[in-house]
């Protein structure tokens, strides 16, 4: 079993020298997040353990507790989760330039890889072999979007009081073509009104 870098450094104190306190140049922020963006398959949540291993355990830029707090906040904020986390860490270490450099580092590998694929894919999408592969993939992808609906429903702790919210939202978007942005706004305002006006009087 491989030991984590934190344990390794604790066991070999000489290796930990220079790790106390955040030693972070803009360049090292960029290269750290570029590496993380480059090598994590499976989206934002797959990045968390990698970011933790690098930023918390290896480089000790922030403490484990701070990292967990940042995750909790980044999760509830809008936007791309991994980008939010990298901006938080970048800002904490090097203020606004750090935030920009970290976001750029996280996004750039995805951007370059997808760009290469997009150019390539458009030349091959009409190829009969590629077309039949994608005819098989499409229904599978719809299922991959259906599954997080159920996982999210579980973590949102739906009950008899609030289960009408997702049902109404889905029907408004699906049948009436209402923009999801309005649903988000209405739900946020509704939650605020319920929490500050209705609930205290109950």
């Amino acid at each position: 079993m491989e030991e984590s870098s934190l344990e390794y450094v604790t066991k070999h104190p000489s290796l930990g020298e220079g790790l106390d306190g955040p030693v972070s140049s803009l360049g090292s922020l960029f290269s750290t997040f570029f590496k993380i963006g480059m090598f994590t398959l499976g989206g934002g949540y797959a990045m968390i353990p990698i970011i933790e291993a690098d930023v918390v355990d290896k480089r000790r830029w922030i403490s484990k507790k701070e990292f967990l707090d940042l995750i909790a906040i980044a999760q509830s904020c809008p936007g791309v989760f991994a980008i939010n986390i990298s901006i938080f860490i970048g800002y904490k270490l090097r203020k606004t330039p750090g935030a920009i450099v970290s976001a750029l580092g996280t996004a750039l590998p995805s951007f370059l890889i997808i760009l290469a694929i997009a150019m390539f894919f458009r030349q091959f999408q009409d190829n009969p072999v590629v077309a039949s592969i994608f005819r098989g993939i499409r229904p599978a992808v719809v299922a991959l979007i259906a599954v997080p609906t159920f996982n999210l429903a579980r973590s949102a702790k739906l009950n008899w009081v609030n289960c009408w919210i997702p049902v109404a939202g889905a029907l408004l978007i699906w049948l009436l073509g209402v923009s999801p942005i309005f649903i988000i706004l209405a739900a946020g305002i509704g939650g605020w009104a319920y929490g500050t006006i209705i609930k205290p009087t109950e």
Binding site: G43, V80, N84, I137, I165, T196
Partner: protein, 190 residues
């Protein structure tokens, strides 16, 4: 002009995209397919498939790909399409940058306040609805065919949907593996 619309659209998606990558997909789908008709629902589904199989956050991947596809479909050249993907990706990240810096600077201690928590109390169930809507909106003729059009393809598609659904939710098989298997099934059967 398409760049301005791309910028505004993806800025909005970045600003209102709650619930992680998949939550954001319902916004991207609504804006790029239903609202602007920049691409078909089959093209959108292909983008999601490729975004899932390549490294990096799915939100960034699909914004980059969607920006490229939107400009290319409008009939512009490849360098113009590259600019489109840069516009979409930049616009998607910009609200995060502004919001996260503001939160770090001013609001970190308010994030656990009862007011903010009650806003999230409304948002969380709504995001479930967003994802359900995205799923329903992707159940199209382009993605599944239809019994009247091509009964063979329709029933194979429905079986692949069911198998992938069961494989992810119950058996917890890696989504990338399932996409590859579905692609292989498509190659053999469709």
């Amino acid at each position: 002009m398409i760049y301005l619309y791309l910028f505004i659209t993806f800025f909005e998606i970045g600003l209102f995209g709650f619930g992680g990558g998949y939550g954001m997909l319902s916004l991207i789908q609504h804006e790029t397919v239903e609202h602007w008709h920049w691409m078909t629902s089959a093209e959108f589904t292909d983008i999601v498939a490729i975004s899932q199989m390549t490294p990096g956050p799915i939100g960034i991947n699909s914004a980059t790909f969607a920006g490229y596809t939107a400009v290319k479909n409008a009939g512009y050249s490849m360098p113009m399409a590259v600019l489109g993907s840069a516009t979409a990706t930049f616009a998607l990240v910009l609200p995060s940058l502004i919001l996260m810096i503001l939160i770090s600077k001013l609001f970190l201690r308010y994030m656990k306040s009862p007011t903010v928590q009650s806003v999230f109390m409304g948002l969380r169930p709504a995001v479930v609805g967003l994802l359900a809507a995205a799923t329903l909106l992707l159940c199209t003729r382009e993605n599944f065919s239809a019994p009247s059009e091509n009964a063979w393809q329709f029933w194979i598609s429905v079986s692949l949907f069911a198998a992938t659904f069961f494989g992810t939710l119950v058996l917890k098989i890696n989504p990338i593996k399932l996409i590859l298997m579905a692609g292989f099934a498509g190659l053999l059967l469709l």
